[in-house]
C-alpha cells in the first residue's frame, strides 16, 4: 500500500474505531442515526474522494475508495457511506451536480416502451435517510440515470439480514427525468460489487481478529482453545480466506482505477475492470460463506448471542454476499468469458491483468 493510502487508512480507522462499539452498533439496528459521525465523514471529504475534481471530488481513485469501504466493513459502519460514494460516482458520470447528504441507489426496470419506470424504488439502502436517490434504468443502449429527491416519497421500511435499512420509496409522481449516460448497463452492480467486496474484505479481517483473540482467551480443558490443533487448523484456513478476499478486492479496485473508460463493462476486454470485479465478488463471496462458519465455530455459543460483537460482522457478510450479484452470478459471467476465449487464450487473458 502506498503512503497516501496508508495515511487514509489510518484516518478512517481512527474515525470509526473511536465511534463504534457493540452498543452503538446495536443502537443503529434499533434505528438510531449517528448524525455526528455522518457529519464527520462528510466533512472530511471521504464521500467524494474518488470523484473528479470537477465534480467536487479529490481526484483520487477507486483504490482510495477501496480503502474507505474496507474500513467501513472492518468497523461495520452503520451509515450509507459506501452507497453515497456509489451514487455520487454514478451521478457525476451522468453530469449531475452531486447533492450533499446521504445518497441512495436503486435499479428500476424499464417499462415495455423502454422509457418510463414505476414510481416505486425498491430496496434503497437507508432510503429513510437519503436526500436523493440515483435511479438507474438499464436500456438497450446502456444506462439511463435520474437524480430523484427523496423528499415527499412514501417510505416502507425494510432491512437486510444485517438490519441495515433497505427501504422501498414510493415517489409522489411519475415524473422522473432520465438522462442518457456513458456508463455500461450494469454499472450499478459493477461498482456496487466492487465496493461491497471491499467492505466484505474488511469485515472478514475483523472476524479473523475476533476469532484469534477469542481462541487465545477462552480456556477449556485447562488451556486456551487456540492451543488445540483442530482450532489452529481452522483458523489457518480462515486466514487463507481472509487473505485471498483482501487481495481480490484490492486488485479489483486497482483495476477500476486504471481502467480506460471506454473498456468498462466488458468482462473480457483488456483494461476493463469487470474481470477483476467478478473475481473479487466470487472469491470474497466464498470467503463470506466459509469464513463466518469458522468464526462462529471457534466462538461457540457466546458468538451466537446478540451481546457479542461477532454477529455484526457475520450478518453483514451474509447480507452483502448476495447484494449486487451472488458469487455464482459473477462466476458464470467469468466462465462465459473463459469459454469464449478457449483453452490456449485463457492464460493470456489472466496475465494481461
Amino acid at each position: 500500500m502506498n503512503e497516501t493510502r496508508r495515511l487514509l487508512d489510518d484516518t478512517v480507522t481512527r474515525l470509526f474505531a473511536e465511534s463504534l462499539d457493540a452498543e452503538r452498533l446495536a443502537a443503529a439496528e434499533r434505528g438510531v442515526w449517528f448524525e455526528a459521525l455522518w457529519n464527520a465523514v462528510e466533512s472530511t471529504g471521504l464521500l467524494r474522494a474518488h470523484l473528479d475534481e470537477t465534480a467536487g471530488g479529490a481526484g483520487a481513485s477507486w483504490h482510495e475508495a477501496f480503502v474507505i469501504a474496507r474500513a467501513c466493513g472492518r468497523h461495520a459502519v452503520p451509515l450509507p457511506v459506501v452507497e453515497t460514494m456509489l451514487a455520487g460516482y454514478l451521478a457525476a458520470r451522468a453530469g449531475f451536480e452531486v447533492p450533499p447528504g446521504p445518497l441512495g441507489v436503486a435499479v428500476v426496470a424499464a417499462d415495455d416502451a423502454g422509457a418510463k419506470a414505476s414510481r416505486l424504488l425498491h430496496r434503497v439502502p437507508w432510503g429513510r435517510r437519503v436526500s436523493h436517490v440515483v435511479a438507474a434504468m438499464p436500456v438497450a443502449a446502456g444506462l439511463h440515470l435520474a437524480l430523484v429527491p427523496a423528499a415527499g416519497a412514501e417510505v416502507s421500511r425494510g432491512h437486510n439480514v444485517a438490519r441495515e435499512p433497505r427501504d422501498t420509496l414510493a415517489l409522489p409522481a411519475n415524473d422522473v427525468r432520465w438522462r442518457a449516460t456513458p456508463l455500461p448497463a450494469d454499472a450499478v452492480s459493477l461498482y456496487g460489487a466492487l465496493l461491497r467486496s471491499a467492505q466484505m474484505a474488511g469485515a472478514l479481517e475483523t472476524i479473523l481478529e475476533l476469532s484469534v483473540g477469542y481462541a487465545n482467551d477462552r480456556v477449556q480443558f485447562g488451556r486456551p482453545i487456540g492451543q488445540f490443533q483442530a482450532i489452529q487448523q481452522e483458523l489457518a484456513r480462515l486466514a487463507g480466506l481472509v487473505a485471498a478476499a483482501g487481495t481480490a478486492a484490492e486488485c479489483a479496485a486497482r483495476a477500476a482505477s486504471e481502467a480506460r473508460a471506454s473498456a468498462i463493462g466488458e468482462v473480457g476486454a483488456t483494461g476493463d475492470p469487470a474481470f477483476e470485479i467478478a473475481c473479487a465478488k466470487v472469491v470474497v463471496g466464498e470467503a463470506a460463506e466459509h469464513g463466518p462458519r469458522i468464526a462462529h465455530q471457534v466462538h461457540g455459543a457466546i458468538g451466537f448471542t446478540y451481546e457479542h460483537r461477532l454477529h455484526f460482522f457475520t450478518r453483514r457478510l451474509w447480507a452483502w454476499r448476495a447484494e449486487f450479484g451472488t458469487p455464482e452470478t459473477w462466476a458464470e459471467r467469468l466462465g462465459a468469458v473463459a469459454l469464449a476465449a478457449g483453452g490456449p487464450r485463457l492464460w493470456p487473458l489472466v496475465t494481461a491483468r
Binding site: G300, Y306, E307, W318
Partner: protein
Amino acid sequence: MSRFRFGAERLPAACARLREEVRAFLDETLADYPAQRRAYTWTGWDAAFTAKVAARGWIGMTWPRRYGGGERSALERYVVLEEMLAAGAPVAAHWIGDRQSGPLLLRYGTETQRAAILPRICRGEAFFCIGMSEPDSGSDLASIRTRAERTERGWRVTGTKVWTTGAQHCEYMIALVRTAPSAQRHAGLSQFLIPLASPGITVRPIRDLAGNEHFCEVVFDDAEIPADALVGSEGNGWAQVMAELAYERSGPERYLSCYPLLTQLVDARRADGDARARTAIGRQVAWLATLRSMSIAVAHLLDAGEHPALEAAVVKDVGAVFEQDLPGVAQSLVDLEPCTDPSGTPFAQVLGELMQNAPSFSLRGGTREILRGIIARGLGLR
C-alpha cells in the same frame, strides 16, 4: 465385515397409515402456518400446537400406557418426528420432554417421579429444558461448577446454566450439577429434576444474533429444591448424560433442520431448472435420502436393543455438514437477497432465517470438534 452396522432396512410397511394420518393432521393444523416460521422447526414454540399433537397421542408414544404413553414402536415414533420436522412444525414445546427428559425419567426416575410427570408430558402440559453448559463450561462439560448441597429438607443449588433452550417457557429443568468436589471431574456429578418456579431461580432469555430469544441463562442463587429431585444415583450424572447423548445423535432432526429451505429452493428454480440447478438440487436429494437411510438404520439398531454409539455419532456429524451447506447451496442457485422482513419472498425469508441459524448446527449438543474426537476414538484411534 464392515466396521459400521448401517443396513438398508426400510421403515415397516405398517407405518404407512400412520404417516398419512400425520400428514393429514399437519395439512389441516398448519394450513396457514407461514413458511418463515417453518424455518424454526424444532426451535419453534407453540403450546397450542403441542396440545393438538398430544391429543393425537403422538407425545411419549413409545412409553408404557400406565404413564400415558402409547406403547408404539420407536420406528412409528420416527415417522411422526420426520413428518413434523419436514413440515417445519413448531414442536419445541414438547420436543425435550418427549425426546430426552421423559426417556431419562423412564430409565432412571423413581416411580413417584414417573407417575407424577410422564402423563403430564404426554398430555402436552409439562415442558422441559436441559441445564448442561455453563459460562466457563462449554465443550469441557466435566468442568461444570453449579453445585447442589444437601440440606435438611433436600438440596440447595448455586450456580449458572446457559444456552438453555426454552427455559423461559418450561416448568422443569433436568440439570447436571456437581454434588462432590471438582477434583474428580467426571465423578461427583448428578442429575436433578428442578422445578423452575422454585425460589432462588432466575431465568433470563438471551437474545441471539438473529434477534430471537430461544435460549436462556438460568441463575441458581441458593435455590432450595426437594430431596426427591435427584434423578438416578448421586454421582452417576456423567454416565447418565453420556448414555443419553450417545443415542440422541441420530434422529431426523440431525438432517432435517433446513428441510423447509429445500422445498422453497425447488419451487424457486422449478420454472428454470438449468444444468447447475438440476445438479446441485439432485446432490442435496441424494444426501438427504442417504442420511435418512442412515438415521433409520440406527433407529432399527436401537429398536433391536443394540448400542450403535459410533453409528449415531457419524449420523450427527454427516447430518450437520449437510444441513449447514444447504443455505449456501440455496443462495448459490437463486440470486435473491436473504430477507426476514415481511416484504421478503418465502424463499428469501426461509433462507434469511436458516442462514443465520446454520452455524449453530455444529455447536448444539457438543461441538463438531468434540464429536469428531468421539468418532475417532470409536474408530480405535488411541
